[in-house]
Amino acid sequence: MKTVIIKYNAGNIQSVLVALERIGVQAVVTDDPEEILAAEKVIFPGVGEASTAMQYLKERELDKLIVSLKQPVLGICLGMQLLCAYSEENDTPCLGVFEEVPVRKFRNEKKAFKVPQTGWNSIQQLKGPLFSQVKENEYCYFVHSYYAILNAFTTGTTEYIHPYSSALQRNNFYGVQFHPEKSAKAGEQILKNFLTL
């Protein structure tokens, strides 16, 4: 069984790689289309900025490749946002797997909340195989300034300023806004669930 982490110019992929090692999985980090196509599981990680990440994917034609994947794909943080239709971050059209779902910026008009949201928040209304054996209101680690709105693909919600989608699923495409690689035992369970899909 081969797990591939898509290599691109968005942030710290190492944390994901090490987290998989902790649960006994040796993943491969690559941007080689053939290796990605041949993988059993694909992880699309990322922290960083949406437009530069999309540009990198387009230059390597990884944008078309990702949307064509048939095996389970897990987008993490920016990876999940890029699977949406559009991001307000530098007005960026995204991959559109989660059709018509926009990614918006947290607006902190009363200055009562810090942006980015940084830290442990709870996840609710959990649905689907990714959350098998994960309890409702479990805490996960988040760092983000942009969020996907609630929509038909929502499989988990979180509240910060207002409720938003902390998890999405459409067919073989899964996305989580939090970092399972940094979310203690709950995060490890979610990664294990994905790897055994």
């Binding site: 942030g11 710290n12 830290g119 680690y141 760092v143 995060g187 490890e188």
Partner: protein, 251 residues
């Protein structure tokens, strides 16, 4: 609801955890990796490792230790001490650190914050500010508190945030090691002045001190060292105490 974070800090010297009073009189507190794993089990939200002698010792040792920590713990951790360049940071991130913290080097060359934020993203850039009350103004001090500067702590926090810092780690050198409580005034001032999270540090001695820094000073996280190392306050017990006082924590 977003929770308040409890962050044990491990000061590292020669690969061992140490802790002193006002950065002096170091005493041994054990193997950092073992201690880190214990904190994970006890429910710590994050960990900070400060290599307090990193400026004078070999960096290779630190990278190997970071790798060891990353393979054993499943919560975010920050590494600081003697970071001067983008390349220093790359080595630590490549070995599995989630965030890095810069202090003296950023004061000397503030553009370092921009460079790191651009290269790795703001989420992994923590700017540590050591503050000391000088003539009634909270001023920035560097080199572990030994060197005064002309920077006001509040101005520097604002500038660090504007340059792309993801978090501020604010240590009061007046309070550090005293166990008399956090510096509530300057923590509140800075927390309200910047849009990024502020981690309060220095002075924790009782559970009430933590409750105060969250309720009265609006800190997003609180950091302490010796009281956790020597189990004077167990992390789990502290979090239960805070929860009873309506402070959101991860339990």
């Amino acid at each position: 609801m977003l929770t308040k974070r409890i962050i044990p800090c491990l000061d590292i010297k020669d690969g061992r955890t140490v802790k002193g009073t006002n950065f002096l009189e170091l005493r041994d507190a054990g193997d950092p990796v073992e201690l880190a794993m214990r904190y994970c089990e006890e429910g710590a939200d994050e960990l900070v490792f400060l290599d307090i002698t990193a400026t004078t010792e070999k960096r290779k040792t630190l990278a190997a230790m970071v790798r060891e920590i990353a393979t054993h713990i499943n919560i975010p951790f920050t590494v600081g001490g003697g970071i001067n360049t983008v390349e220093d940071v790359r080595v630590l991130l490549d070995n599995g650190a989630d965030k890095i913290s810069v202090n003296t080097s950023a004061v000397k060359r503030p553009e370092l914050i921009n460079e790191l934020a651009m290269q790795f993203g703001s989420q992994c850039v923590v700017v540590a500010i050591d503050a000391k009350l000088i003539n009634n103004t909270w001023m920035v001090v560097t080199h572990g508190g030994r060197t005064p500067t002309l920077l006001k702590a509040l101005d520097w926090a604002r500038e660090a945030a504007a340059r792309g810092a993801g978090e501020i780690l604010l240590t009061s050198m007046e309070n550090d090691g005293t166990k008399n409580g956090f510096a509530l005034g300057i923590t509140k001032t800075i927390s309200e002045a910047v849009a990024i999270p502020v981690i309060a540090s220095g002075g924790a001695g009782t559970m009430e001190h933590f409750s105060d820094v969250f309720k009265k000073a609006n800190a997003d996280a609180a950091l302490a060292a010796s009281i956790f190392h020597f189990r004077e306050i167990p992390v789990q017990e502290l979090k239960r105490y805070l929860q009873e006082r309506q402070i959101p924590v991860r339990l």
